[in-house]
């Protein structure tokens, strides 16, 4: 059988078409499954790393706040200390009223946060915010 002679101009697109033909590989499904497992594994590692980082960061933040030893009631403390103390008190009161109004909506009007001490409420708010921030970061990382 005689061969067809092809010029270089004809041969280049012919070779490109041959390269573009996708070979049939019998283990294509296994390849896809292995790749998806690797993607899942990468996500798990990232979630774990972020969770650990969040916990460590939260623990460090709590430790730092504890080490401040602010006396919120002291009127003659340093100016910066007083300002921080007043800010925390404002935040605490804001959080208290927000939580109380939420509780009213849920029919828990008799549940009084006012019975909790200022520092207790502060720690409760701080823990809630840390938990929310950690959850948001984890959610964002899973979506990215």
């Amino acid at each position: 059988m005689g061969r067809l002679a092809m010029s270089a101009d004809e041969f280049d697109p012919f070779v490109e078409r041959m390269f573009a033909r996708t070979p049939a590989l019998p283990d294509a499904e296994a390849f896809s499954a292995r790749l998806e497992a690797r993607l899942d594994s990468g996500t798990r590692v990232r979630t774990l790393a972020l969770s650990v980082a969040g916990l460590v960061g939260g623990a460090v933040a709590v430790r730092e706040i504890l080490s401040l030893r602010l006396d919120l009631a002291a009127p003659d403390g340093p100016v910066a200390g007083r300002a921080v103390g007043e800010g925390i008190q404002t935040l605490t009161l804001g959080a208290q009223s927000a939580i109380q109004s939420g509780a009213d909506h849920l029919g828990l009007a008799n549940w009084s946060l006012g019975s909790m001490g200022g520092m207790q409420l502060f720690w409760l708010s701080a823990a809630t915010m840390i938990a929310l921030a950690t959850a948001a970061v984890m959610k964002l990382s899973q979506e990215s």
């Binding site: 059988m1 061969r3 067809l4 092809m6 270089a8 041969f11 280049d12 012919f14 070779v15 490109e16 078409r17 041959m18 390269f19 573009a20 033909r21 996708t22 070979p23 049939a24 590989l25 294509a28 499904e29 390849f31 896809s32 292995r34 790749l35 998806e36 690797r38 993607l39 899942d40 990468g42 899973q142 979506e143 990215s144």
Partner: protein, 185 residues
Amino acid sequence: MTKALVDLHDVELAALAAAGGRREFGELVRRHSSAVRGLLRRMGAQPSEADDVAQDAFLTAFQRCSEFRGEGTFAAWVKRIAARLYLKRKSKDSRYVAEIESQEAAPSIDTPGLVDLDEALKVLSETERLCVSLCHGAGLSHPEIAAAMNLPLGTVKSHVKRGLDKLRARLRPEPQQYGKAGHVG
């Protein structure tokens, strides 16, 4: 109404994958993994090595999916990533460097009348095979190949020409496909 994954175009799937859609990316993998793995094997990779590089290429593609703008096909984009990853891996192999330096001669196999590209590629030297595959399989330009392989541009052109001459001597078109457009992978 939400379209089924199989009805979505590659560009739509890639956009969804860029937003974190792993199911959509999985569909892209199912569509194009064989093309990418096939290219790597044609470049000279052993099947297991080709699969490893293809896996890494798809993982890279998933991380960089937002960079795919749809100018070319998704398959071509991943093929380029895979080809570059394979070259990077090869460049760490001392045998590859020695082969380029010595311009190893191609094994001479007289097999006239072949129509199988994979078989025909075996008569090319490793460097010729890489250059031809990168040029005609991965769609890299000669300067891009020269940069990726750290070779002078003229040397790349010579390898491509010699490789194509060898292929032309061994390949002949099947009558029904000659002149027809092939599957665009």
